[in-house]
């Protein structure tokens, strides 16, 4: 390629897509600035930078894991499910009721445990170190209960509307969201409750150079490991199993899937099973990592989940994973420059900038379910 051609390509890019150049320039400047701050005495330490990145990864994977289910149901059922955030909450409440029941049976009143009521988290002592089996049981129940819930709601609400426009389904899903949220509110109350015993959560100090350490919490590590494993599992399911391939085929071209003999209703059911299971598991894990939850944490999280999914390209599960991590890291890394009150602004800022030059999201056109 000649120089003049390169030049004219560059000029075309600058004229037609000025945002690309601006975005590249901004990223370059910020990277250089991080380098400068790291070098400056009394500036950013490598331990701080590592902490921002780690926290970003933790937040990002939790959002991404919840987003995978949302993206999947979007690509196969063709509607944005606003109830997804409350599926996350429902899973968390179901799972934690079971975890508490396991951890405190014989020690506390069963009803109090089941309703995740007023028990000193210190006395109950739930943590990965002390009660790993109770947490594992809770995780499984969280996923299973959310699968049951999403299949039930599909049968009652979405299936009769299967051939309707995406917008009707979207509005129905807002109704589902409200119904779920206030059912949880009525049963469990509006109190934000502590869940784990912060004292007994193990911490690992990882040296990161310059004498600093990155403190990795045991529950953060649990979330990262399980979320990564589940995402790998979804990837293998979609790429190697017959059902996964059928899901991708149906996301790609529903009419053709039908004439090919793929049982579309069965694929829809499995989509809810996987999407619901991941929503429930992510809700449980997010609550584990935060050590607290209330009846609307999923709903509040839904905004971030949508941001991640749209950033990655709605409908693409890899986009949801990648978008989640991008949003999480942007949010935390922004703390280098701006106070934490504005970190959410930074996350959405990144989303807007990406959408300016890639309006369909980063993974658009790579529709992998």
């Amino acid at each position: 390629m000649g120089i003049s051609e390169t030049y004219s390509r560059g000029r075309n890019l600058a004229v037609s897509r000025p945002f690309v150049l601006v975005a590249v320039a901004v990223v370059a400047i910020l990277t250089l600035d991080i380098g400068r701050r790291l070098a400056a005495p009394g500036g950013l330490t490598s331990a701080q930078l590592a902490t921002f990145l780690w926290e970003g990864l933790v937040v990002g994977l939790s959002i991404g894991l919840a987003g995978v289910g949302l993206s999947m149901t979007y690509s196969i059922l063709n509607f944005a499910n606003f109830g997804h955030g409350d599926y996350v909450t429902s899973g968390a409440f179901a799972g934690w009721a079971v975890t508490w029941l396991f951890a405190g049976a014989g020690q506390f009143d069963l009803a109090t445990l089941l309703f995740i009521g007023s028990v000193s988290t210190r006395d109950l002592g739930v943590s990965m170190l002390e009660t790993p089996l109770a947490i594992l049981a809770g995780l499984i129940v969280a996923a299973a209960a959310t699968i049951g819930l999403s299949l039930l709601i599909d049968r009652l609400v979405y299936k009769p509307m299967r051939d309707d426009e995406g917008i009707s389904l979207l509005i129905a899903s807002i109704g589902v969201a409200l119904a779920l949220r206030y059912t949880i509110f009525i049963v469990f109350g509006q109190r934000t409750r502590g869940l784990t015993d912060a004292q007994s959560v193990p911490e690992f100090a990882i040296p990161v150079g310059g004498g600093g350490t990155l403190d990795v919490g045991g529950h953060e590590l649990t979330l990262v490991v399980i979320a990564a494993a589940l995402m790998l599992g979804v990837h293998l399911l979609l790429q190697t199993t017959k059902l996964g391939k059928a899901m991708r085929a149906m996301a790609d071209n529903e009419d053709l899937a039908q004439v090919t003999g793929i049982p579309t209703e069965r694929v829809v059911r499995f989509t809810w099973i996987i999407g619901g299971g991941l929503a429930g598991a992510s809700g449980f894990l997010i609550a584990l990592e935060r050590g607290a939850m209330n009846f609307q944490f999923g709903w509040i999280l839904l905004l971030m989940i949508f941001a991640a999914v749209i950033l990655g390209g709605i409908g693409s599960i890899y986009g949801a994973m990648f978008g989640g991590v991008t949003i999480g890291i942007a949010q935390n890394l922004s703390l280098v420059w701006i106070p934490s009150e504005f970190s959410t602004v930074a996350a959405f800022g990144v989303m807007i900038v990406v959408l300016l030059f890639k309006p369909d999201g980063l993974f658009s056109g790579v529709t992998t379910a």
Partner: protein, 301 residues
Amino acid sequence: MSSEASEAERSEASKRAGSEATREHGGGGRSEASKRARSERDRRSVAADGGTASSGATRAADAARPDDSLLRVRDLDAGYGDLQILTDVHMDVGDGEYVTIVGPNGAGKSTVMKSVFGLTSYMGGTIEFAGEAIHGLAPEEIIHEGIGYVPQNDNVFESLTVRENLEMGAYILDEVPEEQIEVIYDRFPILRERSDQRAGTMSGGQRQMLAMGRALMLDPDLLLLDEPSAGLAPDLVQEMFDRIDRINDDGTAVLMVEQNAKEALGRCDRGYVLVNGENAYVDSGEALLNDEQVRKDFLGG
């Protein structure tokens, strides 16, 4: 609908079709067609069951029809939603036969094919395949009967690889039929070369081969092809028709809708001309090509 009522309608329609058949057979080129070995079968008309005005020879051929017709469409009314497109359509495809449907735009050619595959609103009449009534069945049930369908547009899963597309073609089987994939690869060697490539990255001709390969994965008795030459570069069109010939030579019956009417009629055993959702002409492909009326009205002179 009670069987009595449908019987009455059928004989009514047969009479009408019978009188049409006289006109159909009045066209030129019939003697020429009869020189061909397969013309005995070709000369069957729309007037299938007991057309009153056909010649004795045709009636004799018609009488044999119910036994050897693989696909048998009678008095078919169908459309989309409440909109009726097809009226009293008759169509037959014999075992291993190659049949083409031609006609002007909007004549309902593709609709016939979609109706056979259960993709339209069924409004009346019968569709029998291998002696079994299949009208009213869903596509996923019709697949089990041994019919493969290649839609005109969007007929491959773009984000899946070539091999995955073929695997989806055999979804209803418990195991991926490796031998059949090899058969398809032998028939379309380019697919073997591209087996791990995403279908969306392939050219129009390659996609069409993949779409046919997918539909052949269950080794159907009847292959429905909706405008297989649409959107292909001119030099690829001949190649595509050659491939269809070979699929047919290997024993698969073909029912094809084609815009490229001359080419299609020149190659098929029998052709149907459809106008306004009704049968207009039926004869051997050769005879239709030589029929002055058909040529003037539908083949551009």
